[in-house]
Amino acid sequence: MDSAILSLLGAFLLSIIGLFVFIWSSRKGLLVENPKAASVIFARGEIGRVDDPALADAAQDSMQAAALEPGHPLHVADATELQDRIASDQSSAFPVFMFIAFACFWLLLGSLAGLTSSIKLHQPDWLTDQAWLTFGRIRTVHLTAVLYGWISNAALGMMLWLLPRLLRTHLHGAIWSMLGGALINMGIAAAIGAISSGWTDGMEYLEIPWQIAILIFAGFVLVILSVLYTLVNRKVEHLYVSVWYMVAALLWISLLFVVAKLPGVHTGVQQATTNWWYGHNVLGLWFTPVSVGAIYYFLPKIIGRPVRSYNLSILGFWTLAFFYGQVGGHHLIGGPVPGWLTTLSIVQSVMMVIPVVAFSINMGATLKGRMHLARYSPTLRFMMFGGLMYFASSLQGSLEALRSVNQVAHFTHFTVAHAHLGAYAFVTMVLFGAIYFMMPRVLNWEWPYPKLITLHFWLSAIGIAIYFIGLSAGGWLQGVAMLDAARPFMDSVTLTLPYLKWRTAGGSLMVLGHIVFVGHFLAMALRFGPTRTGAALFWQNNKRELAHGQ
C-alpha cells in the first residue's frame, strides 16, 4: 500500500471517529455551555469583583471602578467561602514560599549564566581559562538553572498554591511537598555542579547525570503524593480546568523524566528520538499546560469574570494532551530517523493549532471589554503578555515544523529565538504574573515598591522583544547562507555577529529585570518598604479582618 492510500484511509478513519465523538459529546450535553463550572474559582457573589493583590487599596479601587458595568451591581462575596480560601492559602504558604524562593535564586543564577554564554558567542576569547566557564558548560548551566531551577520550581510553587484554592481544601501532606522541594533543589544544585565540572549525560535537556536525576525524581514523587492526597480530599465536586492541566502536567513530567533517563536502555538513533520526545515534551507537557492552567485561573480571577467558554478550555486540554506529546520528531527532520516519524511529528505539530486557537479565542472573549484593566493591574499585564506569546510561539512552532521552513531554520539561532519565545515570553512571564499575585497572600505583606513591578515588566518585555526579533532575523539569514552551496560556511558565522550582539543587549535588559524582581522579592520577604497595615488581601473594605485571618 502506498502512502497516499494510507493517508486517505487515515483521514477517513479519523473523520469517522470524530463523528462518533461528536455524537457522544452532544448526548452527554458537553456542547451546552457550562457557566457554573467556569465560576467555581469565585466565591458566591464574588463575580464582578476585580482582584489583584499586587495593587494597593486605592489602585484596586480605581481598577474596580473601571471594571464596573452598568446593570451589574456588585454583590458581597460569601464570607464563609472567603474564609475557606484564607485557610487554603495559609495551609500552602510555607511550601509555596520555599519553592518560589528557590526559583528566584535559580532565575538569577541562570540568567547570569545565559548572559555570559551570549557574550561568549561574539567574544570567543573572553573567560576561556577556566573549564567551567567554557561556552559548552556555562550554556548548559544556564539551561539547567532556568528550566529545572526557575521554571519548574516556580511552577510547583504555583501549583501547590492554586490546587488547595481550587479544591477548597487545605494542602494535604505539605511537609512531604517540602521534603520533595528540598530533594529537587539539592538535585538541581548537584546537577549544576556536575555540569560545570564536566560530568554530564551529554544530551540536550537531559544533561543532568542520571545518578543525580534520582534525587529530582524522588522529589517529584513526593510532591505528587501531596498533590494527589489533596486531590482526593477535595471539597468541591467539579475539578476546574486548571486542575486538569496542572495535575496532568505533573504526572507527565515525572514519567517523561524517568523514561528518558533510564540508564543503559537507549542508544544511537533511537536515543535521539527519545531525546527529542523528551526535549519537546518538557515544554509541551510540562511548561505549557502549567502556564495555560495558570492563565485559566488568574486571568478570569483578576478581571472578575468567568472564562467565556468552559467547553473550549476542555477541548484545548484534550487536544493538547493528544497532539503535543508526538511533536518531538520535528527536531530530527532531515536526520537519520525513519521518515514516518518526522512526518507524524510534523502533522501533530500543525494539529497544535487547535488547542492554541481554542485557548486564544476563549481568552479574547473573556477579556472582551475589560482589556483596559491591564492599565491598572500589573499581574494582568503579565498574564495577557504571556497568553499572547503562547499564541505567537505555538503558531510559530507549527510553522517551523513544516519541512520547507525547517530546512532553513533547523541548526540555526532561529530555533534558539523560538525556544526563548516559548520559555520566556510565554511561560516565564506568566510565572512572574502569578508570583506577583500570590506573594502578598503567601507572606501577608504587600509588594513594598509597586513601581518596581512596572519597571520589571517593561525591562523583561522590551528585553525579550529585542532578543527575539534580533536573533530570529540573524538565525534566518544564517540558515539561508548555510543552504547556499556557493557561499562559504564562514559566511553563515560572520553574518550572525551583529544579531548575536543584539541578543546580548536584549538579554542584559532581561537580567536587569530579574535583578529588580528578585531584589523586590527579597525586600518583601524581609519586610522592607513603607510600613503597611498588612496585605490588601481580599479587597473588601468591610471585610478586611477576614484578610488577616482573624
Partner: protein, 200 residues
C-alpha cells in the same frame, strides 16, 4: 470533568501514545541494525576523547548528521553523505546535535586529517580560521618552558608565529586534548552504505 480517575487515565493514555510513537517504535525499528564493515568500534582513547567532547559541550554548536543532498548542500560542503541509523551503533550517548554554529563534524577526519591542525585549532581557533567564533580551549593545554618540555619528551603544538606564546615557551597538549583529537580523527563515516549498483 469531575472525576480524577478520568483525568489520570486520560493523561496516561495520551502520554502512552506519544511514547509508543517516539520511543518504542524507533527502538523496535533500529534494534536489529548491523554495523557496516567500514564502521569500527571506538578505541579506549577515542572513547576518552568522546568524553572530553561531551564534557565541554561541543554538541551545542556542532551537529553529527549530514543531511540528504536534496535537503541542503551538506555533501557539497564536504560534510559527507547523508547519515543512516547504522552509523550510530556505537554512539552512546548520541551526539546528533541541533545547532550548526560551527560545521557538521560527522566526517571531520576525512576533510581535516591533520593532528597538528586540530591541536592548534583547539588552542586558538582564530589562528587557523579567521573570524571563527569557536571558543579557545587554553585549559586543554599547558604553556611550558621550551627546554623543560624537551627534557620531558613532550611534543609541543606547532602554532602560527602570531599565536605562539612568548619566546622560549611552548604549548603542550594535555592528555585530554590528545584524546579529543583522537576522537575527532575517528569521525570518518565515508564508507559506502548502499550496496553497489547492479551491473547492467
Amino acid at each position: 470533568m469531575d472525576n480524577e480517575v478520568k483525568l489520570v487515565s486520560g493523561a496516561m493514555v495520551a502520554l502512552a501514545v506519544a511514547t509508543a510513537a517516539l520511543v518504542v517504535m524507533p527502538y523496535m525499528e533500529v534494534r536489529d541494525i548491523q554495523p557496516r564493515p567500514g564502521l569500527k568500534p571506538y578505541t579506549s582513547a577515542e572513547l576518552r576523547g568522546r568524553g572530553v567532547y561531551i564534557a565541554n559541550g561541543c554538541v551545542y554548536c556542532h551537529s553529527q548528521q549530514p543531511r540528504d543532498r536534496n535537503f541542503g548542500p551538506d555533501f557539497e560542503r564536504g560534510w559527507g553523505r547523508a547519515s543512516v541509523p547504522g552509523d550510530y551503533i556505537y554512539d552512546k550517548p548520541h551526539l546528533l546535535g541541533s545547532m550548526r554554529t560551527g560545521p557538521d563534524l560527522f566526517n571531520i577526519a576525512s576533510r581535516q586529517p591533520s593532528k597538528d591542525w586540530h591541536l592548534g585549532h583547539l588552542y586558538q581557533p582564530r589562528a587557523y580560521v579567521p573570524g571563527s567564533i569557536m571558543p579557545s580551549y587554553p585549559f586543554l593545554f599547558t604553556v611550558k618552558d621550551a627546554k623543560e618540555a624537551e627534557k620531558e619528551g613532550e611534543q609541543p603544538v606547532s602554532l602560527p608565529p602570531a599565536y605562539a606564546p612568548n619566546v622560549g615557551q611552548v604549548v603542550v597538549p594535555t592528555p585530554e586534548a590528545l584524546d579529543l583529537v583522537k576522537y575527532l580523527l575517528a569521525l570518518n563515516h565515508t564508507y559506502p552504505v548502499l550496496p553497489p549498483a547492479p551491473k547492467p
